[in-house]
């Protein structure tokens, strides 16, 4: 079956449909990762986006039950050059096509994704849609009428608190669209985690007597997260805070900084990031369309700790006054390299130090 990817600038790519048989709209973004399509598709940070894989061939190893990053992925479409006819891997439980079908996500193959990537690189991320008809005018009209709210936390966040029990430190995690990999890393470190909805206020958080607070990743425009920023501004004074991606941006917003929308973002996992204190460079898994505006940083409050070595984008900060830090990239990887996974250990250390000083106080 034919399917079309239409961009807001009028570019139309014809291809073959796979996955769910539905029409969807969204911001069209590309990722350069060469593995990990399953993790990317199920990453809630891609909610409402149409995801383009620059790796020309996906689906090779199917879909398994271990590598999902959410239960109900909210990604609005998958665009690729080619889907493998036969997938093969010992953990495989499903094919990519069938998985997308079940999750209601449309896919299109046979697209010159390199051409598409170059358009997105030059013109910036664009709105677009996956439709079954090549009626361009109609598609463009629908694209322009579609609602692209940047406030996506309600779409992906849990509505009720739930526990992820463990024997050690008490962590409250605020779900802005949390990837399971963050939960996995906390579990691996024995954390007794309680996950709260994005609406959690400071008192909701503190009521659980957390040793540390984790701010998750998530989709959308960080500037819409004013309530969350207010919460963090309170909580950071009391317990160690660790933010990832959206969580990172919220920590910055809570401390007076601003964010801006990047031209086409960082999505992939070959982005080298320098830890400024040591000069150490790590390859990081990234998925962000917004970043912290360096001009907006108050040096009395925020110290930049990490930057991307090529474009200098702020990739990590810490607070001057409080034990709180955050990174723009995903130390939890999945997909991508685990070069920075020790940041979770750093968080544990902060928690332990905090507990100690409380005991000594």
């Amino acid at each position: 079956m034919k399917r079309y990817l239409v961009l807001e600038d009028g570019t139309v790519f014809a291809g073959t449909a796979f996955g769910a048989n539905v029409e969807k709209f969204g911001e069209v973004v590309f990722t350069t990762g060469m593995t990990g399509y399953q993790e990317a598709i199920t990453d809630q940070s891609y909610a409402k986006q149409i995801l383009v894989f620059t790796n020309p061939l996906i689906g090779n190893y199917g879909v398994n039950v271990d590598d999902n990053e959410s239960i109900d992925p909210q990604c609005n479409g998958v665009v690729c050059q080619e889907v493998a006819r036969v997938a093969s891997n010992w953990r495989m439980r499903d094919t990519l096509g069938h998985f997308l079908e079940e999750k209601g996500i449309p896919g299109i193959s046979g697209v010159d994704t390199r051409k598409l990537t170059k358009i997105l690189r030059e013109e910036g991320s664009m709105k677009g849609c996956l439709v079954d008809s090549d009626n361009k005018e109609e598609a463009l009209k629908r694209i322009s009428e579609h609602d692209y709210s940047g406030f996506l936390a309600p779409v992906v966040s849990t509505t009720k608190p739930y526990p992820n029990p463990g024997p050690k430190r008490n962590v409250v995690l605020i779900d802005y669209g949390v990837k399971h990999s963050i939960l996995r890393e906390l579990s691996a470190r024995g954390c007794n985690t309680i996950v709260l909805p994005y609406t959690a206020k400071a008192e909701d958080v503190l009521r659980h007597h957390p040793d540390g607070v984790m701010l998750s990743n998530g989709p959308g425009d960080p500037s819409t997260m004013t309530e969350a920023a207010k919460m963090v501004a309170e909580v950071e004074k009391q317990v160690p805070v660790f933010g990832i991606c959206m969580g990172h941006q919220i920590l910055a917003l809570a401390n007076g900084a601003k964010t801006f929308k990047m031209k086409f973002g960082h999505r992939g996992f070959n982005h080298p990031v320098r830890e400024l204190a040591t000069g150490r460079i790590m390859f990081t898994s990234q998925n962000h369309g917004y970043a912290i505006d360096p001009q907006s940083i108050d040096p009395a409050k925020i110290e930049v700790t990490h930057e991307e070595i090529n474009d200098g984008v702020i990739e990590g900060i810490q607070l001057k006054q409080y034990p709180a830090f955050s990174v723009q990239f995903h130390p939890d990887a999945a997909p991508g390299p685990l070069d920075a996974v020790d940041l979770f250990d750093k968080f544990m250390k902060l928690i332990d130090e905090g507990k100690e000083s409380k005991q000594n106080a």
Binding site: T54, Q81, T117, G268, P272, R274, A334
Partner: protein, 1061 residues
């Protein structure tokens, strides 16, 4: 960290002659490294014994020494040059071994010379099996359990410890023969006993079998600041069990989930950090297809064949950066030379699929054991890029230049099921074609997987291609079918076969339907950043990224995969042609399919198209580039073979025209020219059928030289001495196969020589004349050669000049050509003319100082020789004497006869230069690894007809203090002439009191073997067994008495005269 300022002069050690397992990739890496060091302002001293390389060009290093890679010769150079440091990790295993030997000799410490890059201890730790195991244990990284054993019981004990199945690998056997997989004790006992017997060291390695595991490779880099990264990941189509150099390889990994990928990436980075490698390193891993269990197979602490492949697959120049890291620069301060925007600290992202297929020499060595295992047998490889796996694989197959031009090979249809199954289960070079055949017969993925253990995903790539055959057949001239076929990489040629029309018809139909390829850029970053790399591949997509520039352009065709007869020499000539074009202001565009070489380094040409060298792909590029013409003279027979088709399509072939190329190559036409010019040539006839061959041979009188027309490297060329031998020959080489007749020539024995001449159509330039050491009968590529000639009179030289000049002008040669001749009785006979650059061009260019391919290119582009300043035909001879000697790879291949003949067998060459002929000879022998003691012993095993000839040679050996060993007949003959000879027993001679001949070789009683026994070519002949035994035990074998004479000349020069008064 900024680069080091405490060192100024750096010595780079090259990899020496090309052998199987160590080939052109080190010319590429060495060249890159030298240029990178010079770019940083260091003075570079290069040592390499291989003249046929770009790396040994004057402009690559400040000083170039083409000298044997031995401790002695390197020490002399070091004491002369006093380098501050040596960079040994870019010259393959040879470079590393030399560095280790130099270190052990104490010289480096004595002079305070530092080894750059990876430290010796790290190298040792990576290469010493036991130390490596220890390190892995410390790191908690698993290696397959293994043990070296010297008897069967030990093997059985160990297998009981680790469990079956196990693999037995005998040490140092030819081509790794004698080993095998054992499922139980009985098999283990039998195979180990046999393996120990075959192994010269009576040693076998018993290893836990991980056959069937996925074989994964990572190319990793690390700098002195401990920044480490993965440049490229690769996955072998063939599971563990076949050497990675003999495996079909895809990049990036195709069947690993991110978890598996990251697990192995972490392991690779952990290893490179633990070893403290500064530069590039290759990690080979085996992953269980059914669990997370993996093993580290091997770490190569240097750049390698895989790193060359990874560089071409990603665009990321590993060797260049390894050199910069070695002088202290770090990855985060070096700009990525591809994007020029990002830093070198960047893991490339690919947006295409890469397929590599090895190129094996079994078209030459038809009797060789073609089974693939742990010993690499391929001489070269091809790479292809596509936007899907089918496309990449099909393009790679099209690039191979073997009899099978594509996967659709119908001649397997008559093979029995047993044959097909055996070919699937016991991998040989042609397994891919049998996999296709199996699917054609309806085998399921499961069936084929069961036999091959190849992953379903990979198998389905082939299955998909085969399924499309029916689809294409069923829809002749259907645009949509064609579109799909092209999208999945079907060549026009294959579609033509399926549609039963001509390739030209498909091309016209395709173009008429608007189905044209587009060209995509290789940019390391999957288009995330703007880039302007001039490196492209074709695909059937929507956007073309390669556009004609405003400049006048010329396309230079490369020579494809390296194989016997067409080696790195042709890449050398290609690169030089490109340089000349650029200097003349043209845009030089290269098309080639070989990932190992300098010509496919995108920084060499103005534009590189990584494409199969097929008519379709070349014409497609021409359609886009609209060059003023194409140069075919430098890409070996590969490029020459494309000339006619290109011209038929209206493409201008620059230089010698297609008609004139044809006049040189077509026997009848060439004979006419010889007659017109009143030149001499051995009488020859062209036979169209079996009876004619026999008749002509009778007329000419035996021995005769027979060969099919249009051949390279003397393929299927033989000297036959009687009708029976001729009948045997014709059985293997039926006349008029592929429309090519059989040539029958009188076999003239005499001094052989050759020249490479440049001609602008009117004037001729001959930089020099080369004399072959071996008389006619040994292929010119396997002969030693000397410049200037040592045994040609002035009168003969003048004849050679006259003959060559006449031929060049008569053939209307514009560019370069090669003439081979025999001198007999003071007369020059022409044997053949090749209307293209030959394999001697780099050698002759280097020894005469005339960049021949560049001068020829200028002629091709219309600049006459006088305009270039050449007014004299034969240039003055140099004072120094230069000897070129062939190098062979016999130890890598079983069942290949080392007896030299008209069919070429060598894989590489070395050069020895000095002020006297004997010293130059000595160095040449040293370069090839023939190092003889002052007082040694020689085994003489010769045919009856050579008895008279051996006498003076035996006397000379005796005179310099060598002991003579021979079998009864020869021994008696020599003793009759007053020589002392140790008699050894013939093979199979029972109850003899003499030492059996093979034991004499095995025990190390002889230092060199001379063996001319070979006219009965069956591989069972005693001569063959003697030669093979000697090669296996590292005893040099000489099969031509002329080589022996040369060797004696070099030995005598070292020796004092001892004569009684």
């Amino acid at each position: 960290m900024p680069k080091r300022t405490d060192i100024h002069k750096i010595m780079v050690i090259g990899s020496g002659p090309i052998i199987i397992g160590q080939a052109a990739e080190f010319d590429y890496s060495g060249t890159q490294a030298c240029l990178a060091l010079r770019e940083e302002g260091y003075e570079v001293v290069l040592v390499n014994s291989n003249p046929a390389t770009i790396m040994t060009d004057n402009e690559i290093a400040d000083k170039v020494y083409i000298e044997p890679l031995t401790v002695g010769s390197l020490s002399r150079i070091i004491r002369q040059e006093y380098p501050d440091a040596i960079l040994p990790t870019l010259g393959g295993q040879t470079g590393l071994n030399m560095a280790i030997a130099l270190h052990k000799s104490g010289l480096l410490d004595e002079l305070g010379i530092e080894l750059l890059g990876t430290k010796l201890d790290a190298i040792d730790q990576a290469e010493d099996r036991e130390r490596f195991k220890e390190l892995m244990q410390k790191l908690g990284e698993p290696v397959p359990p293994s043990r070296t054993v010297h008897d069967v019981e030990d093997a059985v004990d160990f297998a009981n410890e680790i469990g079956y199945p196990v693999i037995v690998r005998p040490a140092f056997t030819m081509g790794g023969t004698g080993g095998g997989m054992c499922a139980n004790e009985a098999e283990l006992r039998a195979i180990t006993a046999n393996g120990l017997d075959l192994s010269p060291a009576t040693e076998c390695l018993i290893e836990k079998s991980i056959a069937g595991f996925k074989e994964i490779e990572y190319e990793v880099m690390r700098d002195s600041a401990d920044n480490a990264m993965v440049v490229c990941s690769m996955e072998n189509f063939d599971p563990v069990g076949i050497h990675t150099g003999d495996s079909i390889v895809f990049s990036p990994t195709q069947t690993l989930s991110d978890r598996e990928y990251q697990m192995l990436r972490n392991c690779s980075l952990k290893l490179i950090r633990a070893l403290g490698i500064e530069g590039g390193c290759n990690v080979q891993l085996a992953l269980d297809p059914n669990s997370y269990q993996y093993y580290v197979i091997e770490v190569n602490p240097r750049v390698s064949r895989s790193s060359a492949l990874a560089s071409k697959a990603t665009g990321y120049p590993i060797a260049k950066l390894a050199a910069k890291i070695a002088v202290g620069l770090t990855l985060d301060e070096i700009k990525n030379p591809v994007t020029k925007k990002t830093f070198a600290e960047f893991e490339p992202a690919l947006d295409y699929v890469v397929a590599k297929i090895p190129r094996w020499p079994f078209d030459k060595f038809v009797k060789a054991d073609r089974h693939l295992g742990t010993q690499m047998k391929a001489t070269g490889e091809v790479m292809a890029l596509g936007r899907n796996a089918e496309e990449a694989l099909q393009k790679a197959v099209n690039s191979l230049e073997i009899d099978e031009k594509d996967l659709y090979c119908t001649d397997l249809a008559d093979k029995s099921k047993a044959e097909v199954d055996d070919k699937l289960a016991q991998a040989q070079d042609d397994r891919l074609f049998y996999i296709a055949e199996a699917f054609r017969r309806g085998y399921s993925l499961e069936d084929v997987h069961e036999l091959t253990k190849i992953n379903f995903y990979f198998l389905d790539i082939v299955k998909h291609i085969v399924e499309m055959e029916d689809e294409i057949k069923a829809h002749p001239k259907d645009v949509e079918t064609l579109r799909t076929a092209k999208y999945y990489g079907y060549a026009d040629m294959t579609i033509a076969k399926l549609w039963q029309v001509s390739e030209e018809e498909v091309r016209q139909f395709r173009k008429g339907a608007g189905l044209l390829p587009v060209y995509k850029m290789v940019d390391t970053c999957a288009a995330e950043f703007a880039s302007s790399t001039p490196y492209f591949y074709s695909t059937y997509g929507q956007e073309n990224e390669s556009h004609k520039s405003g400049k006048k352009s010329v396309i230079v065709l490369g020579s494809g995969p390296i194989r016997i007869g067409q080696g790195v020499e042709f890449d050398y000539a290609t690169v030089h042609s490109v340089k000349a074009l650029q200097r003349m202001g043209y845009e030089a565009i290269v098309i080639n399919s070989n990932p190992e070489t300098v010509s496919t380094d995108f920084s060499i040409s103005d534009k590189l198209y990584f494409e199969p060298l097929t008519l379709e792909k070349v014409l497609d590029v021409i359609d886009v580039e609209q060059p003023i013409g194409v140069i075919v003279q430098f890409g070996g027979q590969t490029a020459i073979n494309l000339a006619e088709g290109l011209e038929e399509h209206g493409v201008k072939i620059l230089g010698t025209t297609v008609d004139d190329i044809n006049r040189a190559e077509d026997r009848e036409l060439f004979d006419e020219i010889i007659k017109e010019l009143h030149l001499r040539q051995p009488i020859g006839k062209t036979a169209m059928n079996h009876d004619e061959v026999i008749k002509y041979a009778d007329e000419l009188g035996y021995p005769v030289l027979v060969r099919p027309s249009y051949v390279l490297g003397g393929r299927a060329m033989e000297i036959v001495y009687n009708e029976k031998e001729l009948e045997d020959y014709l059985k293997d080489n039926p006349p008029a196969t592929n429309g090519h007749p059989i040539l029958v020539d009188t076999y003239l024995e005499g001094l052989e020589g050759e020249v490479d001449a440049i001609c602008d159509g009117q004037h001729v330039l001959m930089p020099g004349i080369m004399q072959h050491i071996e008389r006619a009968g040994v292929h010119s590529g396997d002969s030693m050669a000397v410049y200037p000639p040592q045994h040609f009179t002035e009168e003969v030289k003048q004849q050679i000049v006259d003959v060559t000049e006449k031929l060049a002008v008569a053939l209307k040669c514009v560019g370069i050509m090669n003439v081979q001749f025999i001198v007999r009785g003071g007369e020059v006979y022409i044997i053949e003319v090749n209307p293209r650059a030959s394999r001697t061009v780099p050698f002759l260019s280097k020894v005469t100082g005339i960049e021949m391919a560049q001068v020829a290119t200028r002629c091709i582009m219309g600049e006459s020789l006088p305009e270039q300043g050449y007014t004299q035909v034969l240039q003055p001879e140099s004072k120094a004497i230069h000897v070129k000697a062939p190098v062979f790879s016999f130890t890598k291949l079983a069942n290949v006869d080392s007896l030299l003949g008209p069919e070429m067998k060598s894989t590489g060459e070395v050069m020895g230069s000095d002020h006297t002929f004997s010293k130059a000879l000595y160095k040449a022998f040293e370069g090839t690894g023939i190092h003889l003691p002052n007082n040694g012993s020689v085994l003489l095993t010769i045919e009856n007809k050579d008895k008279e000839a051996i006498l003076p040679l035996a006397e000379r050996f005796s005179k310099i203090g060598y002991r003579l060993f021979a079998t009864a007949g020869t021994s008696q003959f020599l003793q009759e002439h007053g020589l002392h000879v140790v008699t050894v027993a013939k093979i199979g001679e029972k109850d003899s009191e003499e030492l059996p001949i093979l034991d004499a070789i095995k025990q190390g009683d002889v230092d060199v073997t001379i063996n001319t026994m070979g006219h009965d070519l069956s591989s069972n002949s005693d001569g063959f067994i003697i030669r093979e035994t000697a090669i296996m035990h590292n005893v040099p074998v000489l099969t031509s008495l002329d080589t022996v004479d040369a060797l004696l000349t070099s030995l005598e020069n070292r020796s004092f005269a001892t004569e009684a008064l």
